[in-house]
Amino acid sequence: MSGISRRKFLAASVAAGAATTLAGPKKALAVGSFSGYPDSMGVLVDLTRCIGCRSCEAACNKEQQLPDPNLPFDDMSVFDQTFHHGTQKRRTDESAYTVVNRYKPEGRDPIYRKVQCNHCAEPACLSSCFVNAYTKTKEGAVIYNGSVCVGCRNCMIACPFNVPAYSYSSAFGPVIKKCIFCYDTRLKDGKPPACVEICPQEALTFGKRKDLLKIGHQRIQTHPGRYIDRIYGEKELGGTHWMYLSPIPVEEVGFDPRPGNEPIISHVKDFLGVVPMVLAIWPALFTGFHLLAKNQEGHDDHEHETGHQQGSGQKHDDEGGQQ
């Protein structure tokens, strides 16, 4: 190969390298340990207080202007619904950003758990989105810009709580749909989301996340028999802004009991670190191999004649065997 090819090749690899270095610093910022915006808001859900009235579902439906449900919000038969051969309870979808499910632990009254986006401090959906549609606001909400959503649904794969849903019913403009903490209409003005405001039981407490943690620990301390000693979401998956107090082990109300305390992005960091290394090392490595191989070709006949088998001798042997 001529010198021109190498020069062109170098130019190409410099361009490719530049493209990734530009991407690099941003990446580093995104994956650094982020302990959350200082005064961001959250909600503490007290499962011992929820009576399963579903008024939060109704309020959400109205606030987010979602389509009318198949069954009215005062129809409690939805709690008996199961899906996929009885293995699954209701989940969030394009027409319901929050749902309440009933769990019947043995020897206890039923427990109701509200499901919605938990607004992670380091959201998996955000870190998996290749068009950067998601934003973690300083108020604590995880919001998204549907106008750039391509519909790869990687965020649905990534979300450890299976929260984002997709508007499959739309043929020409399907996008991701999920709870946005009523950011546009309420949170950004400092107001609590619609579901919290309507809750008749004060099962949902809105406040600064750091204050909610204090309140939660206080409740556990004051009523040790009433709660298990855990605020689900305090540390799980890097911390969430919606957190749960539960009277029974969390797996009995449908949570993954051991999701780990690392945010999802930590699982991907190893690979992201490999990328610039491959981009930097491979060009020289393989061009080097090429140069070495070329040199060796020149000595082809000589090696065969003298029967030398050093280094690449094995390869030549194979060749000989096959012919």
């Binding site: 190409a12 941003k26 391509v150 403009g173 690979f271």
Partner: protein
């Protein structure tokens, strides 16, 4: 076509029609030098075309249906299984099976093993088409495929693994088009283009290796976003990307063996002697490469199990399924390859390749679909999803065959009378010097 060749019809393989010393027209080239009647006749006589016809008759309207009524009309519209067959098969299986392009490119161009030259173009084409159709599958799966350029030009999410996949697949697709275009330039007689590509071959090949390493790995790293959803035996926090990358190596090599076997059985008329005579030797060579990949893959898979201390899972039902995948998809081909290479049995190596391809496809389907959400429930994709996936695959086969029939992939193009002599010189040379003679010819063409 076979019967026509037996009758003495010679498919176009050169610039000049030997019968009347005129250049073939584009029409002649497209029809392989047959008359339209002859061409249609041979197409209708081929029973495989009828099978394709039936698949298209059912599948193409379904694809139109999907774009009019949305994804929800042809899938279960699952929020728990956002990725179905289109990505589970179309993207995650097609891409590793297309690793052949960069593997053979590296072997021939970087390591200078010109004895693999006869099969290099097939490997490059296999790579290009596999990637191209992976993108087609992706376009069918994306909610708004017309927004696919967004991550490239409009809204960047550079910290996302998928961003990397998008960029690398797009760049690598262009690299592969450039690599395969040599055959097209020959066929069109645009020698300037050919010379230009020849000059940048090393650059293209090395960028091919870089991009392939990264996006083959990135496809694995995509599952690092779902540590709680993929079954631990198919998930490795530290090694997921390297499992995917390493397994892509035997996958790509074995796909070339499988495809070349099908070609040998059904398309021998289109191959020249240079291809047919070296095929067994190349097959065993590829099998050696694939064995290296497979044994490494087997070891690092179990290192993955050991690293995360997942031995206990092996005793479960999922564990049995994992061991089945390893036994049939990795261990069995390894044994077959070892025996085949020891005894120079190309046909046995071909069976090894079939099992390897099966094993890799099973692995990707296991990771993306079958063991995904193992804590929730298992889902069988919608029947329409199956039909569309099969239809796109049928379009892939049709395109593949269309190109193989025409472009000089399996045969060498005879440009000018004096150059046409060169391949014959190779043939005439004593057989044990073939590789170096081929090298010499190759360099001369360079």
């Amino acid at each position: 076509m076979k019967s026509l060749v037996e009758l003495g019809v010679k498919p176009v393989d050169s610039l000049i029609n030997e019968k009347n010393d005129k250049r073939w027209s584009i029409m002649d080239k497209l029809l392989l030098g047959l008359s339209p009647g002859q061409y249609l006749g041979q197409a209708l006589r081929n029973p495989f075309n009828w099978i394709l016809g039936i698949i298209f008759a059912i599948g193409l309207p379904l694809i139109v249906y999907r774009f009019i009524f949305g994804l929800g009309a042809v899938t279960h519209a699952s929020n728990d299984y956002p990725w179905g067959l289109f990505l589970g098969f179309g993207l995650f299986c097609m891409v590793p099976l297309s690793a052949s392009g960069f593997m053979l490119g590296t072997t021939v161009e970087i390591f200078g093993r010109h004895d693999f030259h006869p099969i290099e173009r097939l490997a490059l084409l296999n790579g290009l088409l596999g990637y191209f159709f992976a993108v087609i599958y992706l376009m069918i799966d994306l909610g708004q495929p017309w927004r696919l350029p967004y991550p490239m030009f409009w809204s960047f999410g550079p910290a996302a693994v998928l961003f990397l996949v998008a960029w690398h697949v797009a760049t690598y697709l262009s690299v592969q088009i450039a690599e395969v275009s040599v055959a097209f330039f020959e066929w069109m007689d645009w020698l300037g283009g050919k010379r230009f590509i020849r000059r940048i071959t090393i650059g293209l090949t090395v960028s091919g290796i870089i991009l392939s390493t990264l996006h083959q790995g990135a496809l694995g790293a995509l599952f690092n976003y779902a540590p709680g959803k993929v079954h631990p035996l198919w998930y490795s926090a530290s090694f997921q990307w390297i499992h995917f990358f390493v397994s892509a190596i035997p996958a790509g090599l074995c796909m070339v063996i499988v495809v070349s076997t099908i070609i040998k059985k059904t398309m021998a008329w289109r191959c020249d002697d240079g291809f047919l005579d070296s095929l067994d030797r190349c097959t065993l060579g590829l099998a050696k490469g694939a064995s290296m990949g497979l044994i490494t893959y087997l070891v690092i898979k179990f290192i993955g199990v050991a690293h995360d201390n997942e031995w206990a899972y092996l005793a479960t039902g999922w564990g049995a399924w994992f061991l089945f995948e390893m036994a049939v998809g990795v261990l069995l081909p390894l044994v077959l390859f070892a025996y085949a290479i020891r005894h120079q049995l190309a046909s046995l190596a071909r069976w090894g390749a079939v099992f390897t391809v099966f094993g890799i496809v099973l692995n990707r389907l296991n990771t993306a679909l079958i063991t995904f959400n193992w804590k929730l429930y298992q889902e069988i994709p919608h029947i329409f999803e199956f039909i569309i996936a099969v239809t796109v695959f049928a379009i892939y086969i049709t395109t593949y065959r269309f190109i193989l029939y025409r472009l000089p992939i399996l045969y060498s193009w005879k440009e000018q009378p004096q150059e046409a002599l060169a391949p014959e010189a190779v043939k005439a040379a004593p057989i044990n010097t073939t590789p170096s003679a081929a090298n010499a010819v190759y360099r001369k063409i360079d």
